[in-house]
């Protein structure tokens, strides 16, 4: 199959040395140092710690995807969004779900348009031009096959290709951040779809040939760890585990993301949340829930939290009845029985 490589050089069989060795050329660095990563992320309101900033920096330098794992609501998706914002790239998002397949993730032929094209061809053929009707035996066969080949080449060209997120990220001429969200939701078999894109930054389409990336997108995969991802996928990625932040970082996050919060209140919030996380709960309060809580308190005009207010608003933080009861009990009583 001959690749129709007329469109902006994206489609070809080009093999450069780096690609052969398995090291895609990362292109010009987006960040000069780890500190710069952290500062620029902070500027858009994402407070990264050393680990996060380091991995982002490496991902850019090594041109490798980042697999971000951790409990829900610790800013996995937000990280990708913030990086996109910082680098001024377009964010392309692929939300994974069970049953995701090639036609939703990679590409699809625009079947309706192809049909239309064929119909149109037939109309042209029937109308006057008369290059030869199928019934004719002599000489006409040639015309039919050639027009058939034309047609086939025509309907399997990029015009009829519907790009889905993965292909789109590869083809985009501008810098792109690709976010593959909740990759643990797809079946083990579907993971294989990602592999070619993640390691070689290319997509093979049987009818067209191989499409290589014009620029290496920064790829983030997030996982809530509901299942073990395959070794093949993990091997291709840098791994970043996002846990609940430290007290200081959580306080700074609250300060950065919630307008109108005082430093004292943020400190108190962070400390209460940390105490809650030491309890044995069904679901620990996440960072996003901490932020919700902070916003709630600001809206209510609370200056400093006492036990009553904490109890009244805890339902923002905790989503299980048993958790709520336990937290209320612990926070109010724990001090007394020891004192």
């Amino acid at each position: 199959m001959s690749p129709a490589s007329d469109k902006d050089g994206a489609v070809d069989g080009k093999t450069d040395a780096m690609g052969m060795l398995g090291f895609p050329d990362p292109g010009p660095p987006l960040f000069s140092s780890v500190t710069e990563v952290r500062e620029r992320l902070a500027a858009v309101g994402y407070l990264a710690d050393d680990g996060i900033a380091g991995v982002v920096h490496l991902a850019d330098r090594l041109a490798k995807p980042v697999l971000v794992e951790g409990p829900a609501g610790t800013g996995k998706t937000e990280l990708a969004k913030s990086v996109a914002r910082v680098t001024g790239s377009r964010l392309i998002r692929l939300q994974c779900y069970e049953g995701l397949d090639e036609s939703k993730a990679l590409y699809e032929w625009n079947y309706k348009k192809q049909l239309l094209r064929i119909q149109a061809q037939r109309v042209v053929d029937d109308d006057g031009t008369k290059t030869g009707s199928p019934g004719d035996d002599d000489g006409a066969g040639d015309g039919v096959t050639s027009s058939w080949r034309d047609l086939e080449e025509d309907i399997f060209s990029e015009e009829f290709l519907l790009t889905r997120p993965l292909l789109e990220a590869i083809r985009s001429p501008d810098p792109v951040v690709l976010l593959v969200d909740e990759v643990d939701r797809v079946e083990l078999e579907t993971e294989a779809l990602l592999l070619e894109v993640l390691s070689e930054y290319q997509v093979s389409i049987p009818e067209l040939g191989t499409i290589r990336a014009q620029q290496i997108p920064l790829v983030f995969l997030t996982s809530n760890n509901t299942r073990e991802l395959s070794e093949a996928l993990k091997r291709r990625c840098l791994y970043l585990h996002l846990d609940y932040p430290s007290l200081e970082r959580e306080r700074d996050i609250v300060l950065a993301r919630v307008p109108g919060v005082t430093e004292e209140l943020a400190d108190q919030i962070a400390r209460i949340v940390r105490s809650l996380r030491t309890l044995e709960l069904k679901k620990y309060p996440s960072v996003s829930e901490t932020l919700d809580w902070a916003r709630t308190l600001v809206v209510l005009g609370v200056e400093s939290i006492d036990a009553e207010q904490a109890k009244a608003t805890l339902h923002v933080l905790l989503k299980y009845r048993s958790d709520l009861e336990r937290a209320a009990k612990e926070l109010a009583v724990a001090g007394e029985d020891r004192a």
């Binding site: 050393d50 380091g54 490496l58 993990k234 846990d243 006492d306 001090g335």
Partner: protein, 482 residues
């Protein structure tokens, strides 16, 4: 650098982490892109490329601390400047801190001039004001004073840690910190909430101190014994390989935390397995009937619909002292995934036996239920030493009728029967009625049948006997079961 790296990777593999060749190549590649004098950056770079599971983080951290601690400075770029620079800045820190600590111990006396009381006092103050640098410096001194480390002595770091902690008496320090906090409160009294928060705050500071002490001890041990030897002695099992029977309290806690995601994973996997379940067997009658339309040629084979297996589970667990923690975990796990089974009934026994299914009904908190089982269930018949024979025969008498061909019976225990009669016929009767009978034994296979273990007598009547000593084996078994 490459030598260190390959040695490090080798150590990770020895500790049980699956590090592939590409991953170590990535690590080498990554090291190019970071400033090597930055130890944290190096750590994160290696972690990102080599460790692909959060459960393995701890093992990685230990290995990293050992491999890149003392010899760090001379290996990182072999640059003399940076190493001396490092040491200098450390000394600076120390003297500066000591200067702040009320001007005592000036110069580089290494804290010899401090009496234990003074040291404790300074530590207390540093903790109170959350002065991390000073806490670290004091931790170093505490180790050199209290741990009594002797070169070449083949004891583990925990021993030194214990000695240091005993001398520092952190519980009392915590109480003192709390008292100070109370005294400094406006009304001389903290509200319960504030009290709680303050306590958590101080606890986390003390934890940091404890970590500091551990690091310091490890640093010294590395200097004393060399990297490889120490790495070997510090190697700890990964969470999924911790032995239930010999887990420490910390490990038990981490196991409990691990069990929750594990159950979720299992549930997802089981659901998936069922949904994509293999097709049922060939339905001959249906195939023949449909073949009539093609003149008797069976063109289109028909299959029976797979019937989702919803096994009913009966758990009979030994909760006597010797295997209690194991039984507890299994009860946890079985009940956490009980939504996958149409019915789960649990029985516990020591020498008497009691049904405990009721404790798990409408309970959110499995830990609570397990606690109630331990206190309320009527499991002691004579003396509270395991008697499998009696427990099993009572079980057969009272509940034997309720075993159906759909039930799978799980027996948990080490079959150490204190030389009572085995009554193995009960197992064989159960097997006649039930779908499967499995025995899970938390003891290593080599110990089976030794001493008063009579597993052999029971095993002949079971469908299978599994060694089930850690989470990985347990997980494996549950997947097999469903």
């Amino acid at each position: 650098m490459l030598d260190v790296l390959t040695g490090f990777v080798g150590e990770l593999r020895a500790a049980g982490l699956p590090v592939s060749l590409t991953e170590s190549i990535d690590a080498a590649e990554a090291v190019h892109h970071i400033p090597l004098e930055d130890r944290d950056a190096l750590k994160y770079a290696l972690a990102a490329t080599l460790v692909k599971s959060s459960a393995h983080w701890k093992a990685f951290e230990t290995a990293f601390e050992v491999y890149f601690s003392m010899r760090g400075p001379q290996y990182e770029f072999g640059d003399d400047d940076s190493s001396t620079g490092d040491l200098d800045s450390e000394n600076d820190n120390e003297t500066e801190n000591r200067g702040r600590g009320e001007g005592r111990g000036q110069g580089s006396g290494g804290g010899e001039g401090l009496s234990p009381e003074e040291l404790a006092e300074m530590l207390f103050r540093a903790l109170l004001s959350a002065n991390d640098a000073q806490v670290a410096a004091l931790a170093r001194q505490a180790v050199s004073r209290f741990a009594g480390m002797e070169p070449g002595r083949p004891v583990g770091g925990t021993y030194y840690l214990y000695r240091t902690l005993r001398n520092l008496d952190l519980d009392r320090v915590l109480e003192r910190l709390m008292e100070t906090a109370r005294a400094s409160a406006p009304e001389g009294q903290l509200t319960p909430l504030e009290e709680r928060l303050a306590r958590d705050e101080f606890k986390s500071r003390l934890d940091r101190l404890r970590r500091e002490l551990e690091d310091e001890i490890r640093r010294r041990l590395v200097a004393d014994r060399g990297t490889e030897a120490l790495a070997r002695s510090l190697r700890k099992p990964l969470p999924e390989e911790i032995d239930f029977m010999h887990a420490t309290r910390d490990e038990l806690a981490s196991l409990r935390r691990a069990i929750h995601p594990l159950t979720r994973k299992l549930a997802v996997r089981l659901a998936r397995k069922r949904r994509h379940g293999r097709k049922g067997p060939l339905d001959f009658r249906s195939t023949m009937r449909h073949s009539l339309s093609t003149g008797g040629v069976p063109v289109d084979p028909k299959f029976r619909y797979p019937r989702p297996a919803k096994p009913e589970i009966i758990v009979i667990a030994d909760i006597s002292g010797s295997v209690a923690s194991f039984a507890r975990f299994t009860l946890h796990l079985v009940h956490a995934i009980s939504s996958q089974f149409s019915k789960v009934r649990s029985f516990v026994f020591i020498d008497g036996i009691d049904e405990v299914t009721r404790f798990f009904e409408n309970v959110d908190d499995v830990a609570d239920a397990v606690h109630r089982i331990n206190t309320e269930a009527d499991v002691v018949w004579v003396d509270g030493h395991s008697d499998y024979g009696h427990a099993l025969s009572v079980f057969w008498e009272r509940w034997g009728e309720e075993i159906t061909p759909r039930s799978s019976v799980l027996l948990l225990g080490d079959a150490r029967n204190n030389y009572h009669a085995s009554q193995a016929w009960v197992i064989s009767e159960i097997r006649h009625r039930a779908r499967h009978v499995y025995w899970l034994n938390p003891e290593p296979r080599a110990y089976w049948g030794t001493g008063d273990s009579i597993l052999g007598e029971y095993a002949v009547h079971c469908d299978d006997v599994f060694e089930c000593r850690n989470l990985r084996q347990l997980e494996h078994f549950v997947t097999e079961l469903a």
